[in-house]
């Protein structure tokens, strides 16, 4: 007996995913085109991002460093990528104010991305000499080893501002409580729902879930990015509508007497 593969261009079982993908892309592209044409969506003020200058200013006045923790996951995690985006803004402001910025990282790849991001921000701020690669340094991949270092650094250097932007787990409260204890302004951002209550309670500002991912568009103010943001929101709203519609239909089906239903394949003799 010969076994052969039955190649098919389209998997009918995944058709729904294709429809969702096309609809999402259509929303995003349409929104981008509209934004380019001048219909740029307005984004509400995000307190945590507006407070970046205040936090950096505090560090400048107090003559203390700024601590930026980009989470404990690698660059394949979208939260880490969003954290690096915020790092760019923080570094630009710190370079402009000539404040000291420390970025301990727990992954080598993140260190490289963070260094490039900080260097680019310093260049953009017109302060290339401000960038010191040694300030962006690798500590350890170990979760609690890294947390212990960060807590120790806080106790020693007493940073005036702490940023926690990325993916966090059990170390979140250790970091935030230590920052609070040394009197730092703290701004956190994560999409890890389990860690959000800890950050909200112990930080001055917290970027919650989507706010964190919107940071890039919010900070750049570029029409393309803002358009993308609106497109994503529309797509999410559509998906939510489909979900609600599906729930309603399923509920109606449950409460509809069987005799009223059309015969199905299983019911047919």
């Amino acid at each position: 007996m010969v076994l052969g593969a039955d190649a098919s261009f389209l998997n009918p079982d995944k058709l729904l995913l294709l429809v969702v993908l096309v609809a999402t892309c259509a929303c995003i592209i349409a929104s981008m085109v509209l934004a380019r044409a001048g219909r740029v969506p307005k984004i509400r003020r995000i307190a945590g991002l507006e407070a970046v200058e205040e936090a950096v200013g505090r560090a400048t006045e107090m003559g203390r460093p700024i601590l930026f923790v980009p989470g404990i996951q690698d660059m394949d995690n979208p939260m880490t990528v969003a954290g690096i985006t915020v790092l760019s803004r923080v570094a630009g402001t710190a370079a402009q104010y000539d404040a000291t910025l420390d970025v301990p990282v727990s992954r080598s790849l993140v260190m490289q991305a963070a260094r490039e991001s900080v260097q680019a921000a310093a260049l953009q701020a017109g302060q290339p000499d401000w960038f010191d690669p040694e300030r962006v340094r690798y500590i350890t991949d170990e979760q609690f080893g890294y947390a212990a270092y960060a807590a120790g650094a806080m106790a020693r250097d007493k940073p005036a501002a702490c940023f926690y932007m990325g993916c966090f787990f059990a170390e979140s409260l250790i970091l935030a409580e230590n920052g609070n204890a040394v009197g730092a302004i703290q701004i956190a951002g994560t999409a890890e729902t389990a860690q959000l209550p800890f950050f909200v309670a112990s930080c001055d500002y917290t970027l919650i879930g989507e706010e964190f991912f919107a940071a890039s568009a919010y900070l750049s103010g570029a029409p393309d990015q803002l358009g993308t943001l609106r497109g994503q929101d529309i797509a999410k709203a559509l998906i939510a509508l489909v979900l609600v519609g599906g729930v309603v239909m399923a509920t109606v089906k449950v409460f509809t007497p069987k005799s009223d239903r059309a015969p199905t394949a299983e019911m047919a003799p």
Binding site: A47, G57, R58, T60, E61, M62, G63, I185, V200
Partner: protein, 600 residues
């Protein structure tokens, strides 16, 4: 030496303004201090007289003629009483001064929104005009900052920066910008420019070294921001006053003699106004906003929860700056307050004429309506600037709970709140000299948009500066004169905060006063004036979504003060929106009629 307040029965006070020197006589009549006479004479600080005391003598001589009490010696000095029963002379002579442009300062701080802002607040609170604020993040290159410092000719410079134990590098860099730039003082080449350093105490040696090169008179005082959580303006303000007397006044023509005459330090006029408003707010436990609209500038003072702030809007005024008001507000915004048909081209000509002939006053009804429309916008813009400046301290930690997850407000919120405001005091030509008190009240309400219950008053003859300096020698006398003679009570405004929808009710109200009572329902976009005499008992029940101070929809019953206008019920909602076009004009005309602004 300060006199015993119980022995002070007769006070002569002068305010040496740029154009006129105003003198008032305050006497203790039947145990109560009253302002009894007022006089004025041209200020004589400029050539050919070049002696400020001549104007002071002239104004006090006029006061002497009006009161029948001899107040000036043959040599022009102020006569003092020799005994408590003496019929001539005064017990105390005090003065304020804004002649020659007042006190002009440059301030510097490390971060614009933090120590530089505190330095600005200290300077403004002391009565200065802040010519520029230099900060390490003001987005100017060092050479641009040096250029700007060289261009300015301040009376003194205030430098702040770094918390105690904090930054020393940036604040020293600021000093290193200022020292070699060698800003020249306004008065005389031999005058050493006073530098007041109110920054990080650790930076003092470096600052002293930087300014040791000569040409500067460095004074070191306590840090304005010892920590970012605390602002400590007192020592810096006192030093500004001292330096103002020692350096600025001593170099102005005739001021050395005036300082010798006065029984209390001469204060900058706006500083004295701020002092009396603070004393009133403290004495009555209320929140106060004061405004003084002039030809070139508008000063706004506020005291909220004991926190004093002053701003000077340099380009908002009713003559020299009127063109800028129209440009900044936009002609459409000005014209929304005009209910008469007017030709816009003619109005633009009127604006320019006022600019080049600043002393003219409106000659026609249309000109008056237009001028008052401009004043509404000037006041509104000045108040917006004030609200942006009078904020909580920036850069401080926020206290959060999990409940704040979706309502994380930013730091640096404005201290100024329309709902918390208790008393609004107006002064300045267009407000003080409006033909009808109702017009003054309407201008205040339209520009400041007070919410809830707010008392409205005007300074009858711009007496607040005199009383500010009097408060430093005899606080009770200052308070009594302020309440009885300085303020003319216009009335009380009750304005529910909320969004007014045309045709819908805003609140139900009832009022009882001596000889009358009334009740009714206030509709959206409606205004109502009740002549209640001195006081009335009022009960208001706002509709759902409207607030008069106790919360949305919660009724309030209280006594309100009347005055020359009375009780004004404002159903226009907040924030105030005036529709454009014919509908807006119809509404403005209806409001003018309701408030009896132009009965003829």
């Amino acid at each position: 030496m300060q006199k015993d307040p119980s022995r002070i029965k007769v006070v002569v006070a002068t305010d040496c303004g740029s154009t006129t020197t105003k003198a008032i006589l305050i006497e203790c009549v039947d145990g109560v201090y009253r302002q009894t006479h007022r006089a004025e004479a041209p200020t004589t600080v400029e050539a050919p007289f070049a002696d400020v005391t001549l104007g002071v003598s002239n104004s006090v001589t006029e006061l002497q003629e009006l009161s029948g009490r001899r107040l000036v010696n043959d040599d022009g000095t102020i006569l003092r009483r020799t005994s408590p029963d003496a019929a001539d002379g005064c017990d105390v002579y005090i003065s304020t001064s804004s002649a020659g442009g007042g006190l002009q300062m440059m301030v510097a701080g490390v971060v614009k929104e933090m120590t530089a802002e505190s330095a600005k607040r200290a300077a403004l609170g002391a009565g200065a005009i802040v010519m520029d604020t230099i900060a390490s993040n003001d987005r100017r290159r060092p050479h641009e900052q040096v250029q700007r410092i060289r261009e300015l000719r301040p009376d003194m410079v205030l430098i702040s920066g770094g918390t105690d134990g904090g930054d020393t590098k940036k604040v020293t860099e600021l000093a290193e910008l200022i020292a070699p730039a060698k800003p020249r003082p306004r008065f005389g080449g031999e005058y050493s420019l006073p530098i007041i350093f109110a920054g990080n105490r650790d930076a003092r040696p470096a600052i002293e070294r930087t300014f040791a090169s000569g040409g500067f008179d460095l004074k070191v005082v306590d840090n304005l921001r010892p920590t970012l959580e605390r602002e400590h303006l007192g020592p810096a303000r006192e030093t500004i006053h001292d330096v103002f007397l020692e350096h600025v006044m001593a170099h102005a023509p005739g001021y050395d003699r005036l300082i010798a005459w006065a029984d209390a330090p001469i204060m900058p006029t706006p500083g004295a106004v701020g002092d009396i408003l603070q004393a009133i707010a403290k004495g009555r436990g209320i929140n106060v906003v004061g405004v003084d609209i002039g030809g070139a500038t508008t000063d706004v003072f506020s005291v909220f929860d004991g926190s004093f702030n002053r701003t000077v809007s340099a380009n908002l005024g009713m003559s020299y700056s009127i063109s800028n008001v129209c440009a900044e507000a936009g002609m459409d915004n000005v014209l929304r307050w005009v209910h008469l048909d007017m030709d816009e081209r003619e109005l633009r000509n009127r604006v320019k004429n006022k600019m080049i002939r600043p002393t003219t006053i409106p000659q026609t009804h249309e000109a008056l309506v237009f001028e008052q429309a401009v004043s509404r916008e000037a006041l509104r813009l000045a108040y917006v600037q004030h609200k942006a400046f009078a904020t909580e301290l920036k850069g401080v930690q926020q206290q959060r709970t999990v409940g704040d997850a979706f309502s994380q407000s930013e730091g640096g919120r404005s201290l100024v709140s329309g709902m918390k405001l208790d008393l609004l005091v107006a002064s300045g030509g267009v407000l003080s000299h409006a033909p009808r008190m109702e017009q003054t009240a309407a201008m205040l309400i339209d520009a400041f948009e007070p919410e809830g219950f707010t008392e409205l008053a005007k300074d009858s003859i711009f007496m607040m500066p005199h009383l500010g300096v009097l408060a430093t020698v005899h606080e009770r006398a200052a308070m009594e004169v302020f309440e009885r003679d300085c303020l003319i009570m216009l009335g009380t405004c009750i304005a529910p905060a909320g969004t007014a929808v045309a045709g819908k009710p805003v609140m139900r109200w009832s009022a009882q006063w001596d000889g009358g009572s009334a009740e009714g329902t206030l509709m959206a976009q409606e205004m109502k004036l009740l002549r209640i005499g001195d006081r009335a008992q009022v009960e208001v029940t706002p509709e759902r979504g409207f607030d008069v101070g106790a919360g949305p929809g919660v009724a309030v019953k209280r006594e309100v003060r009347g005055g020359s206008v009375g009780l004004i019920l404002d159903g226009r909602g907040r924030s105030l929106a005036v529709p454009s076009g014919a509908e807006g004009r119809r509404l403005v005309a209806a409001w003018a009629k309701a408030l009896e602004l132009h009965p003829d």
